[in-house]
């Protein structure tokens, strides 16, 4: 069963007009903001396929920036997000990219604050559901369907065990897990989809575990 809850059907509450071009776009933006963990000062947003062709009319641009500001799909501030970003002094640029992508509703978002930057690719797969397919060069398959935590860690033995042990102690069941790395022994990324939201106190505990660099979470 792809759809598990009645609220997948009657819901989500969202700002119109399109569950894929607006709500999904906001969710990708918010995922970027969550994963970056702080306010960016600049953003470069590349839009592909149907996103590139119809973004003005669907408000895909304002939705992504709304997401970057941390707004949920139902936050009415989304419609004035470009002004809010401007007031904050953010430099946001959109590019209509003509490169072919696997899915018509794809965006590549680069954000930074002068010290750090981050780059991700997100796909809006329909009905407001999204998938993050790339993060800082790491390939991944993060669905928006489940709560998840993303753990950036040193590529050392024991890093994965230390995380899963903490989750086990808090009786959190792992639904799907993947590990991605670019080079042996450098930084690696753990993507863990879980059955229930991981609470803040558990995140804090995870941050203190061995070899863990940074944690971001996606809540249901």
């Amino acid at each position: 069963m792809k759809f598990k809850s009645v609220f997948d059907i009657i819901g989500p509450v969202m700002i119109g007009p399109s569950s894929s071009h607006t709500a999904g776009a906001a969710r990708i933006g918010k995922a970027a903001r969550t994963l970056f963990g702080m306010d960016p000062t600049w953003a470069e947003v590349h839009l592909y396929g149907s996103f590139a062709k119809t973004y003005k009319g669907h408000g895909t641009d304002v939705a992504i920036v709304g997401g970057l500001l941390g707004f949920d799909t139902d936050d009415t501030r989304i419609s004035s997000s470009l002004d809010i970003a401007k007031e904050k002094g953010w430099n946001v640029v959109f590019y209509q990219d003509e490169a072919a992508t696997d899915h018509p509703n794809t965006t590549r978002i680069k954000i930074g604050n002068g010290k750090e930057d981050m780059e991700l690719v997100g796909v809006s797969i329909g009905g407001g559901k999204v998938e993050i397919t790339e993060l800082n060069g790491f390939e991944l398959h993060l669905s928006g369907n489940h709560p998840a935590i993303l753990v950036m860690h040193n590529d050392r033995f024991g890093a994965i065990a230390s995380v899963t042990q903490i989750l086990a102690r808090h009786e959190i069941n792992i639904g799907r897990m993947e590990v991605s790395r670019k080079d042996l022994g450098k930084e690696a990324l753990m993507i863990i989809e879980v059955d229930q939201n991981v609470e803040e106190n558990i995140i804090q505990e995870l941050e203190e575990a061995d070899h863990i660099l940074q944690i971001a979470r996606i809540v249901d």
Binding site: M1, K2, F3, K4, S5, V6, F7, D8, I9, I10, G11, P12, V13, M14, I15, G16, P17, S18, S19, S20, T22, A23, H46, S50, K53, T54, K56, G57, H58, G59, V62, D74, T76, I78, S79, V93, F94, Y95, Q96, D97, E98, P104, G126, G127, G128
Partner: protein
């Protein structure tokens, strides 16, 4: 036990002697490990969002593209000042469905039922039928669970998005979901809800998704008007004892197969149908005519 299709949904309701909405509520509690209070209160919030959207739309809104807005106001004015040929209740439902989708097109807040583009059918009919049946708040919340139960079956056995299966999957499903819920609210049996769903969806089979400029506006807003009226007429037919010769689950199967063979030009790509008409194309180039940065 979980229901996988409409036949099982009706069977559980009949066996347990409960309403279809109650079957959905219990399943939601079981599968997602939540209390009844929790589940009911979340749906109440969705109901409130729908109510607010209708209210906003009836005051008059306009989309950024200028393609839609203001028709709900025209319809309400017509209802109060003249004697609508199709009857007050039917046209009230149409105006409230239109109101919801006009708010959606204007980037207002709506509740997707099952999608944003088809968000008008369920609340449009609910708030019109409400004036005739005088339901309690709980019965109105139940209306949404009954709608959701049927939408859940469609989503898991076929599709609910225009990109995947055309408008029949989107407004077709929304309209049929509303129809089944109207029957329950009007005191019909679970089987009659299933008949209403089947009759409604049959009348929406083959409907393509061909939005002008790719926007959820033309013809989406008026398709919700058609969806709302179709839902009420089919509900009346089912309550009168009319049955569908093709069982509900087989109608859903037919919708799925039709959607699978629908060309991509007619599935939300804005390349066919109304989007490809001379006027449709002219509107699209007017909306997107301003050059923007290109890499």
């Amino acid at each position: 036990m979980l229901f996988r299709n409409v036949a099982e949904l009706v069977e559980i309701a009949n066996h347990e002697k409960i309403q279809l909405s109650e079957v959905m509520i219990r399943q939601e509690m079981d599968v997602n490990d939540r209390t009844k209070e929790d589940v009911m209160s979340q749906m109440e919030k969705n109901l409130q969002v729908m109510e607010d959207a209708v209210e906003e739309g009836l005051k008059g809104v306009s989309s950024h593209s200028g393609l839609t807005g203001g028709d709900a106001v025209l319809l309400q004015k017509y209802i109060t000042e003249q004697d609508p040929l199709s009857g007050t209740l039917l046209l009230d439902a149409v105006s409230k469905a239109v109101a919801t989708n006009e708010v959606n097109a204007a980037m207002g807040t709506i509740c997707a039922t099952p999608t944003a583009g088809s968000a008008g059918c369920v609340p449009g009919t609910l708030f019109a039928v409400k004036n005739k049946l005088n339901p309690t708040r709980e019965q109105m919340i139940r209306f949404l669970f009954t709608s959701g139960a049927f939408g859940y079956v469609v989503a898991n056995n076929a599709f609910i998005s225009g990109a995947a299966g055309g408008c029949q999957a989107e407004v077709g499903s929304a309209s049929a979901m509303a129809s089944a819920a109207i029957v329950e609210m009007a005191g019909g049996t679970p089987q009659q809800s299933s008949e209403a769903f089947a009759i409604t969806l049959k009348n929406m089979l083959g409907l393509v998704c061909d939005p002008v400029a790719g926007l959820v506006e033309v013809p989406c807003v008026k398709r919700n008007a058609a969806g709302a009226s179709n839902a009420i007429v089919s509900a009346d037919m089912a309550l009168a004892g009319v049955t569908s010769r093709i069982p509900c689950d087989e109608v859903i199967g037919a919708m799925y197969r039709i959607g699978k063979t629908m060309p991509s030009a007619l599935r939300e790509t804005a390349e066919g149908g109304l989007a490809a008409t001379p006027t449709g194309r002219a509107l699209a180039s007017k909306i997107y005519g301003i050059p923007v940065e290109k890499e």
